[in-house]
């Protein structure tokens, strides 16, 4: 009997130790602690940057002095500035680095989910709820998903009243204007309820309605896109064609078509606007680069004879660089090089190469700061550039954002609604 009691005591002691460990170290079902939000520079690195900035902040960079900052520019961006005979006298101003901090909701959801999210062999995301899926990215595809899930205001209106199709050779422009309503029913971080709106049975993660106001023949035309939380599901798209007063279902697998004379197709919007899993990614590393941040669309100017937006600020940041190759061997680009902002995960620059391996297009996206109705700051792209460097033709777009929290529900982002509001 004593032996039996002694044996039982051992078991009880072992169980007690396990229980104590559980209370002291609640490992199971908990995210590992990670520092978030991310900061580009701190400590010694930040000092070095500040030292460099003493010479360069406030300086206007153009073809006369761009060689001096060449190491901080993508090769293509340097080329456009250097070759002013071909691309005009483009210039930008160097501003001091200032951290971009995403809204607290985004950081909170990131910390909750850190370490739980994974990508399968097909490139699909799993166990992701909200926030940034990979706050410490180790692979190229992590950055692609971070960009897709970057901190944006969950219910916003983007107006793009400054869009020009610019033929640099003929120095002629065509004007476009659009307004875009965006709702995130899932993967929400900034507006309650988070992470998802109730009654989202189709699992939509982002719904977008874009309405054209110019040119006259496109006025009234609207597009509706639905993207899904299930990354294996194809996106859905519809178009309200105002001249014939009908909705047309769009084939969203055919995303390479360049229409309306623009220098981008469906996939090119914001640098990459397609399912992440369609590409293979390779992380090329990190690079100090001068990228557009803390800009205001009101300050940006577009001047005929110059290929790019002018009067923008660029800050030195420690960007991630990723190579993306589409899984479709006949895809229009043989490869793309994407640059990501490590603080906002925004895709801020891209080089795109044609099937022959020659540089075809460059994309440049400058970020601006906006204020929601409750005073929260959020960041998003205020100027876009899609430039065909082979044919000297560019599409530039700029606008702002507005908080439309609570203004439109899920039913606003449906084909039935296009039918209702369409003229």
């Amino acid at each position: 009997m004593l032996k039996h009691v002694q044996e039982n005591k051992s078991v009880i002691a072992a169980l007690t130790v396990i229980l104590v460990l559980c209370f002291l170290f609640p490992v199971w079902g908990t995210a590992k602690e990670i520092p978030y939000p991310v900061i580009c520079y701190e400590g010694e690195e930040l000092q070095k940057v500040r030292e460099w900035e003493k010479k360069w902040v406030g300086k206007i960079i153009n073809h006369t002095n761009v060689d001096e900052v060449k190491e901080f520019l993508p090769e293509s961006f340097y080329m456009v500035h250097k070759n002013h005979d071909e691309f005009g006298p483009n210039e930008f101003t160097i501003a001091p680095y200032k951290q971009l901090i995403p809204p607290e909701g985004h950081s909170e959801w990131t910390r909750k989910g850190a370490g739980k999210v994974s990508v399968d062999k097909n490139g699909y995301l799993h166990d992701f709820v909200s926030g940034c899926p990979f706050p410490e990215p180790t692979e190229g595809i992590h950055l692609a998903y971070n960009y897709e899930c970057r901190a944006v205001w969950d219910e916003r209106l983007q107006w793009m009243d400054r869009m020009y199709l610019y033929d640099h050779r003929r120095e002629s422009t065509r004007d476009f204007a659009a307004e875009i309503h965006i709702l995130q029913p899932a993967e929400r971080t900034s507006i309650e309820p988070t992470p998802e709106l109730p009654d989202n049975p189709r699992g939509i993660r982002m719904a977008v309605i874009a309405k054209y106001h110019a040119p006259p023949e496109l006025k009234g035309i609207m597009f509706l896109d639905n993207q899904y939380h299930d990354r294996s599901k194809e996106w859905d798209g519809w178009m309200w064609i105002a001249p014939i007063r009908r909705i047309r279902r769009q084939d969203t697998t055919q995303r390479q078509d360049h229409r309306s004379g623009a220098d981008f197709c469906s996939d090119d919007q914001n640098g990459w606007f397609g399912r992440v899993a369609r590409n293979n990614y390779k992380m090329l590393g990190r690079k100090d680069a001068l990228m557009g941040r803390h800009n205001k669309i009101a300050d940006a100017t577009f001047i005929k004879g110059r290929f790019l937006w002018q009067n923008l600020n660029r800050e030195r940041i420690n960007a991630y660089v990723v190579e993306a190759v589409n899984k479709d061997q006949h895809y229009m680009y043989s490869k793309s090089i994407f640059w990501y902002d490590p603080e906002t995960w925004c895709l801020i620059y891209a080089d795109k190469y044609d099937r022959q391996g020659k540089l075809w297009k460059i994309n440049d996206f400058c970020q601006g700061e906006y204020t929601a109705n409750d005073g929260t700051y959020f960041y998003d792209v205020c100027t876009q550039l899609h430039a065909d460097v082979q044919r000297k033709h560019s599409t530039v777009a700029g606008g702002g954002f507005k908080d439309i929290k609570g203004k439109y529900g899920m039913s606003h982002y449906t084909p039935a609604e296009l039918n209702r509001i369409g003229r």
Binding site: D161, L165, D167, S172, R174, D175, A177, D199, H213, A214, P215, P216, E217, K219, G220, E234, D236, G237, W238, P243, I244, R245, R246, I247, R248, R249, Q250, D251, T252, T253, Q254, Q256, D257, H258, R259, S260, G261, A262, D263, C265, H330, M332, D354, R355, D388, R391, H393, K407, G409, M410, S411, T414, P415, A416, E417, N419, R420, I421, R423
Partner: protein, 500 residues
């Protein structure tokens, strides 16, 4: 042409150029900067429109020896006036107006004389020359009251139901305006607006995203508009003496149903989204918009008309019918295409036939189905060279089936599809291809419709769109009719349009 005619033409050309010049000037000074709304009594007025000149030249002359079908100047203006806008309610007033003046009779005496002789003299010429009826000028005018999930539109409206464009399947709400006599007219010119109340209800969190639409069309019957007699395109060949054809067209106007509550039309449509497929179910209770001649009563009256005897009863009937429809649209990634389809059953006192044909108005069922496939096509060599611009293609197959109809060899009774065919079914395939060169400055389009039982029509269009406003277009329309004057319908059309 005499001196006075030349002077008239000069004045009219000057008027056209002057108006265009004013528009260019205003645009340059920003007064016509229609990207942003105007302010009218402190509220936004969004305006859009176009000024167009269109010259149609026939490639073959018929017995009338007409060269210029039309030289039409058209002003279209669309306005959206936002009366009130709050978070829960939007109220606006919308209008679409359209005015034209056709100089075709001024530059082609034969056209003018043919209309005068074959139709109702100067009155017919006046109708040909310019918009006269309010229905021609004011296409749409309605008050739009919109809540978060519902909407009411009250006034004159144009409605588009269905998925296909070339032939009407489910899209039968508004009567057609065929006075343009083009195979593929501008959509804005194609339909006659109707006074109606249109209700939408899009409930939140509805199963299968179902939404509802109801049309209530009070008695104000509008018939299909026909071109004047003497025009000679598609109808009125060979010419009939003593303006018989013109009188027939006017009898269609005369014989239309009265405006009493017996002629109330209504429709309902339910829209949903199931298994990645958009679908609609619809029902419409209406009358045939184009008059039909009944064999016993109407035909006798028509013969009286032809032989100069008194017409004592109606020639045309506009029978009532029910129309029940189903449409769907779905993207199919495996074939990189979108498939759209419609199926409509028209039944009860409905008779299909061309206006004026001697067909019994009997109860028939007509089943119309259409299937369309849209695809963006990669053209080897061309697409990569042209900055990855894909060729847009749509192919549609229409099938008409008269249920319970048989051609009677003994009595000779049959239903005329208008193409000479007497079978119980009819098939048409149409194809549309469009492309863009040089950043869509140059836009070619090809349209083709093959009727297995009748005509083939082709249209080649080349549009030049150099900037935001001016559009220059030349197109060729060819209709390979059989046994009805081949190529008499062919024409080259030149158009200059300013969009604002």
């Amino acid at each position: 042409m005499g001196g006075n005619a030349m002077k008239t033409i000069f004045c009219k050309i000057f008027f056209t150029v002057f108006t265009a010049g004013l528009l260019i000037h205003w645009t340059g000074t920003g007064v016509f900067a229609f990207k942003d709304p105007f302010k009218l009594f402190g509220r936004d007025l969004d305006v859009k429109g176009s000024l167009q000149t269109n010259l149609d030249v026939r490639t073959h002359r018929d017995v009338r020896d007409i060269q210029f079908s039309s030289w039409k100047q058209t002003l279209r203006v669309e306005g959206d006036y936002r009366i009130s806008r709050t978070d829960d309610l939007d109220i606006s007033l919308y209008a679409l107006a359209h005015y034209y003046y056709d100089f075709g009779g001024s530059i082609d005496d034969n056209q003018r004389d043919a209309i005068r002789h074959e139709d109702d003299g100067s009155h017919a010429l006046k109708n040909y020359r310019r918009s006269n009826e309010i229905e021609e000028i004011l296409k749409e005018l309605y008050l739009d009251i919109r809540g978060r999930t519902w909407e009411v539109r009250i006034g004159r409206q144009i409605v588009s139901w269905g998925e296909t464009a070339f032939f009407q399947v489910a899209d039968i709400i508004n009567p057609l305006d065929l006075t343009n006599m083009k195979v593929w007219p501008d959509f804005d010119d194609l339909k006659v607006g109707l006074w109606m109340v249109r209700l939408f209800y899009t409930p939140e969190r509805m199963w299968q995203n179902i939404s509802f639409e109801v049309l209530l069309i009070p008695p104000d019957f509008q018939h299909q508009r026909m071109p004047p007699a003497g025009h000679g395109l598609f109808l009125g060949n060979p010419p009939m003496p003593d303006n018989v054809f013109g009188q027939l067209i006017h009898h269609m106007e005369h014989d239309k149903p009265g405006n009493d509550w017996n002629n109330f039309e209504w429709g309902v449509r339910i829209r949903g989204y199931t298994w990645d497929t958009d679908w609609t179910l619809s029902y419409f209770r209406s009358r045939v918009d184009a008059g039909l001649v009944a064999r016993d009563r109407g035909l006798n009256q028509m013969l009286n008309l032809i032989f100069g005897m008194p017409v004592t009863d109606r020639i045309f009937r506009f029978p009532k019918y029910h129309s029940a429809g189903f449409t769907f649209a779905r993207s199919i990634p495996a074939i990189k295409s979108t498939v759209r389809g419609e199926m409509v059953l028209n039944f009860s006192h409905y008779q299909y036939g061309m206006p004026g044909t001697a067909s019994d108005i009997k109860s028939r069922k007509l089943l119309v189905t259409a299937l369309a496939v849209d695809r963006s096509i990669f053209v080897p060599w061309l697409t990569p060279l042209n900055r990855m611009r894909y060729l847009s293609a749509t192919i549609t197959w229409y099938h008409y089936k008269l249920i319970g109809h048989k051609f009677d060899k003994n009595t000779g009774e049959y239903i005329d599809w208008g193409s000479g065919n007497r079978d119980s079914s009819r098939d048409v395939i149409d194809l549309m291809l469009d492309y863009g060169f040089y950043w869509d400055y140059i836009l070619p389009t090809f349209m083709f419709a093959y009727d297995f039982n009748g005509t083939t029509t082709l249209s080649y269009v080349l549009k030049y769109a150099p900037g935001d406003h001016w559009r220059y277009q030349v197109s060729y329309q060819q209709s390979n009719e059989q046994g009805r004057g081949a190529h008499m319908q062919d024409q080259v059309m030149f158009s200059i349009q300013y969009e604002f």
